[in-house]
């Protein structure tokens, strides 16, 4: 691999922090969902980069699993968002501050 692993790590950290910033600053539940996808991708980049770094396929396999989990998460997330929307008429997470409503 011509590009050093550090670069990928930094790229991954950047992507992760951007996703984090999205979660921290946005109120729209959909933006949460997308930010979480970004963060998961950051993790995937790390997995794959280290897979190559160690010459071990475990990282790539894990990346696949991560994708599956991401798909599941999105499915559930969208279910929740729709319920949220149905109950509040909006997808603003700051509306749903109680444990139950």
């Amino acid at each position: 691999m011509a590009v050093p692993a550090e670069y990928y790590l930094v790229l991954s950290a950047g992507l992760f922090c951007i996703g984090l910033a999205g979660i921290l600053t946005r109120k729209n539940a959909l933006m949460f969902l997308m930010s979480v996808e970004l963060m998961l991708n950051a993790a995937n980049i790390n997995f794959v980069a280290f897979s190559l770094y160690w010459g071990n396929l475990t990282g790539q396999t894990f990346a696949l699993f991560t994708m599956a989990l991401a798909a599941a998460e999105v499915a559930i997330g969208i279910g929740i968002i729709l319920v949220l929307y149905r109950n509040f008429g909006d997808v603003d997470v700051t509306d749903a501050v109680g444990m139950r409503w």
Binding site: I18, A21, W54, T58, L64, A72, G79
Partner: protein, 202 residues
């Protein structure tokens, strides 16, 4: 109809500072870490080797490819002597010496994708020696369950709560038809329900 993307200008300073700070710290740590060169994936795996004589012949040997296969050809005083390495053509073959003998070695690429499949399905006997990986069958099953759970969860979340019938993919239409109960959203707002669609598979 499209709109130009607009940048948000709201939001607190602290979250941004926290995120950027985290990035700075992580980047500092990563760049300072003693990470050397990558090992990389092995390109080839040996599949055959044939002895072609003692070590002294190695300098005179070469790999020849004909339509019949791949040969190791040794130039001797009495002429060329060919040894069949494999009947395939276009393979990666080299001459190596080891233990006082010269060998013609045929290697072929390792399939990363195939290995991933072996690892995921727990076929550890198929895993090549050159490309290490663990067996993930249990994880695979768990992820499978998680996916099913996600599907069920999504369906459960999407059903209308004010109707006793569960709206799922295979519910017969006469149960759900009267009030357009397939709408997954909208609640009590009639105008919202216009956009309703089947939330069951969301």
């Amino acid at each position: 109809m499209t709109t130009r993307p607009e940048l948000r200008d709201t939001g607190g300073l602290l979250p941004a500072v926290a995120a950027v700070g985290l990035f700075v710290v992580m980047a500092a740590v990563f760049l300072g870490a003693p990470i050397g060169d990558a090992a990389g994936f092995p390109q080839n795996a040996e599949v055959a080797n044939e002895s072609i004589g003692d070590a002294s012949v190695a300098s005179n040997a070469s790999i020849q490819t004909t339509n019949n296969g791949t040969f190791a050809q040794v130039a001797t005083a009495s002429g060329n002597e060919s040894t069949l390495l494999t009947e395939d053509t276009g393979v990666n073959a080299t001459i190596v010496t080891a233990g006082g003998s010269a060998y013609g070695v045929v290697s072929e690429p390792v399939s990363v994708t195939a290995t991933i499949g072996y690892a995921m399905f727990g076929l550890s006997s198929q895993l090549p020696d050159e490309l290490k990986s663990e067996s993930f069958l249990a994880v695979f099953e768990i992820i499978d369950l998680v996916l099913v759970a996600a599907l069920v969860g999504a369906v459960t979340l999407a059903r209308r709560e004010d109707l006793s019938t569960v709206v799922t993919l295979f519910t017969s239409s006469e149960d759900a038809a009267p009030s357009g109960a397939v709408a997954a959203d909208g609640g009590s707002e009639p105008d919202v329900s216009e956009e309703s669609t089947d939330g069951g598979d969301a």
